[in-house]
């Protein structure tokens, strides 16, 4: 009985050592990946801030005004003016359908009595 226990415990130690060895390398690999990702995130953040600045620079009012002037033929953009405020009354709604005249009697019937 005793030799069997010795052999089994020796095997268990070997198995655990192998497992620890693998875990160690897997952890190191994961850490390498994390630092790589962190570097990538930092790079992307930096790129994002550059692109934000660039977007703001491209959208500066001076440039937009120049572009609107250059492309006036195509876009016809003008500064917003008070006259451009509309009113619901200015919207052309479809006209109401005309009263359907089928028989002359109908028409005379709709007339107000004199």
């Amino acid at each position: 009985m005793r030799p069997v226990i010795y052999v089994l415990s020796f095997l268990a130690v070997m198995a655990l050592a192998f497992w620890a060895y693998r875990e160690n390398y897997a952890t190191q690999q994961a850490l390498r990946e994390v630092s790589g990702l962190n570097r990538e995130i930092a790079g992307l953040r930096e790129a994002l801030s550059v692109q934000r600045a660039e977007w703001a620079y491209l959208n500066r009012p001076d440039r937009l005004r120049e572009l609107a002037t250059l492309n006036f033929d195509r876009l016809g953009l003008l500064p917003l003016e008070p006259e451009q405020f509309g009113d619901p009354k200015q919207v052309a709604y479809p006209p109401e359908p005309l009263f359907n005249i089928e028989q002359p009697v109908n028409v005379s019937g709709e007339e107000e009595p004199l």
């Binding site: 953040r45 934000r52 703001a56 009012p61 005004r65 008070p82």
Partner: protein, 603 residues
């Protein structure tokens, strides 16, 4: 544990038989028992002490070991933790009220040199001078070869320049990362933002510090690491600012003015939606301040006319006199006052514009509409100097404005040291005391806000608190209605913008001549101001437009009154900005064709 009896019968009996005292046996047994008890408790106490000792020893060993480890080991960041954006942002962004970027950071590189590592200093100096025109090849070579081991070449490089320097390929040229401040909109809000520069510099990083404007005034907030990712939101509206800037610049050129300023302010919250001062500058490349002995700092583009420009604001002050007279119940808008010009007061003679006479009597409304100096002076004399001072003080004319700009606390109004009656008279129509257009904007906002005081601010206010009551709503409304009549039938008739019911008051003040040139006032140099409120029926915004030395030359002789210069510019500003602010014009609707007109009548 067996308990031995104190008096065992067998020993007692034998002791009695031997004639001994049985009590000695009892005492002996009692002593033994006590000794046994004592030994037991001592053992227990010793065990406890030992346990405690071991525990303390282990605790101190762990702490000591940890300290030793921390002291001896290399510092290292936890590699598995995620990094945030906080570390990247050294200085918070600045945005307008709608979140559009006004100032942000950009990562660039600086260029420094280790001349001792240089292979060929002469060639490096030549090639650097070819890349950067402002560098001088000979001076650079001298600095490279005078034995120093370190020197800065440039603080900021563009990526193209960096590549060109790379291509020189000398090991003595090195790059360091630099975070620089970028103002993508250039000159747009230059005086608000101010500018930034580098503070303490190292090879690996440099401090970015604000040098003027809000960048300096709120430097601590912008550099606070806890708020690095949270942009500072200003009250400025970029679209409105751009429109105001464009119109004002065109107006300044058209009126041949030397400078101009405009302030657009929300009357309830005091938020400044637009602040323009011309001429201006590019905060990305801030010019050097004028330092010559003969230079007037007010001529520098760095000078913020809207905040730092302390001028005599002229007739725009008259409404304060009228409003106070109404508030005190001395007059009502129809009361007739003596306006017989010229008015003699001691050795002084108070005249009207171009020596006119609007008198002998004018209603209070007409005093404002016609801008009568004499009428205003009479009102001021009724009010009295002390009450006039107190009222102007409550409107904020005696202190610097609390604006979030580093220039603001320095721009204190110029108040006469004594206040005799002649000062009461001149102050009533805006002469003798000087204030900045920002003061004027805050005071007009107070009138437009129904008499509640307004604190000008450059930061977006989400829940502005109500101000203190300076005057009753009734007097404030009466004052606004007088201002409205200035535009409909008075000196500011060019200020009418259809649909927006502009109310305002013109002001023309002669510029004071410097002492070296004889003192007094210039005859042909004026500052024209138009202070306006719109829409008059429910005032929402205050607009101040100031032109420095304007002259309108379309007529046979040059005109220098505000009605001809500042007013048309202000009207155009309102026409352009009011729709951007979402104000609907209150114009009668004209139907485009007969059919729709018929529809409109039906309803």
């Amino acid at each position: 544990m067996t308990r031995t009896p104190l008096r065992p019968l067998a020993r007692i009996l034998s002791a009695r038989a031997n004639g001994e005292n049985p009590d000695t046996i009892e005492r002996e047994n009692l002593r033994l028992r006590h000794e046994e008890l004592r030994d037991r408790s001592r053992n227990r106490a010793e065990g406890r002490l030992l346990l405690l000792g071991v525990a303390f020893f282990m605790a101190f060993t762990i702490i000591g070991g940890r300290m030793g480890l921390l002291a001896a080991s290399q510092p290292e960041e936890p590699r598995a933790a995620a990094t945030g954006a906080e570390i990247l942002n050294q200085r918070a962004d600045i945005t307008d009220r709608n979140g559009r970027v006004l100032a942000t950071n950009l990562l660039t590189h600086s260029l420094y040199a280790h001349p001792k590592d240089m292979v060929d200093p002469g060639r490096v100096a030549r090639e650097l001078a070819a890349i950067f025109p402002e560098l001088d090849a000979e001076a650079l070579q001298k600095r490279f070869t005078d034995g120093r081991s370190f020197l800065w070449v440039r603080r900021k490089l563009s990526p193209e320049q960096m590549q060109a320097v790379h291509d020189i390929g000398d090991p003595g040229l090195l790059f360091g990362p630099r975070e620089m401040r970028l103002y993508p909109n250039g000159r747009l809000a230059a005086h608000v933002l101010g500018g930034a520069s580098f503070g303490a510099e190292g090879v690996h990083s440099a401090e970015v510090i604000g040098t003027a404007g809000i960048e300096k005034a709120l430097d601590a907030r912008l550099r606070d690491p806890a708020k690095g990712t949270e942009p500072l939101t200003l009250s400025i509206d970029m679209t409105v600012q751009a429109a105001t800037h464009e119109v004002l610049e065109a107006g300044m050129k058209m009126m041949n003015a030397k400078g101009a300023a405009a302030i657009l302010m929300d009357v309830t919250s005091g938020e400044i939606l637009s602040l323009v001062s011309l001429p201006d500058f590019d905060p990305n490349d801030r010019p050097q301040p004028l330092v010559g002995a003969k230079d007037d700092p007010a001529d520098s583009p760095l000078f913020n006319r809207a905040v730092q420009g302390v001028y005599e604001l002229g007739s725009t002050f008259k409404i304060f006199t009228a409003a106070q007279a109404l508030e005190l119940g001395l007059v009502n808008p129809e009361t007739m006052v003596d306006a017989n010009a010229p008015m003699q007061w001691g050795k002084h003679k108070i005249k009207e514009f171009q020596g006119k006479n609007y008198g002998p009597l004018l209603s209070v409304t007409d005093v404002i509409v016609k801008s009568s100096n004499v009428g205003t002076a009479r009102l001021a004399l009724q009010i009295g100097g002390l009450r006039q001072q107190a009222f102007l003080k409550s409107l904020g004319f005696f202190d610097a404005t609390p604006l979030e700009l580093v220039e603001a606390p320095g721009a204190k109004p110029l108040i006469p040291a004594r206040w005799p009656e002649i000062v009461t008279i001149t102050t009533s129509y805006g002469h003798g005391m000087s204030a900045s257009p920002m003061h004027l904007a805050a005071a007009y906002a107070t009138i437009a806000n129904g008499g509640l005081s307004v604190t000008p601010t450059l930061l977006r206010q989400d829940r502005p608190g109500p101000g203190n009551r300076i005057m009753s709503e009734k007097s404030a409304d009466a004052a606004v209605s007088m201002l409205r009549q200035v535009v409909t039938k008075g000196t500011a008739s060019m200020g009418e913008v259809p649909g927006y019911a502009v109310a305002g008051k013109t002001g023309t003040a002669d510029k004071p001549r410097p002492k070296e040139l004889g003192g007094g006032y210039y005859k042909d140099k004026v500052i024209n101001t138009f202070a306006s409120v719109f829409p008059a029926n429910d005032p929402k915004y205050v607009l101040i437009v100031t032109l420095d030395e304007p002259v309108e030359t379309s007529g046979p002789e040059p005109r220098r009154t505000a009605g001809w210069t500042a007013v048309p510019v202000a009207a155009e500003v309102i026409r352009r900005t009011a729709p951007l602010l979402g104000l609907r014009p209150a114009v009668e609707f004209v139907a485009p064709d007969a059919l729709l007109a018929a529809n409109a009548i039906d309803e």
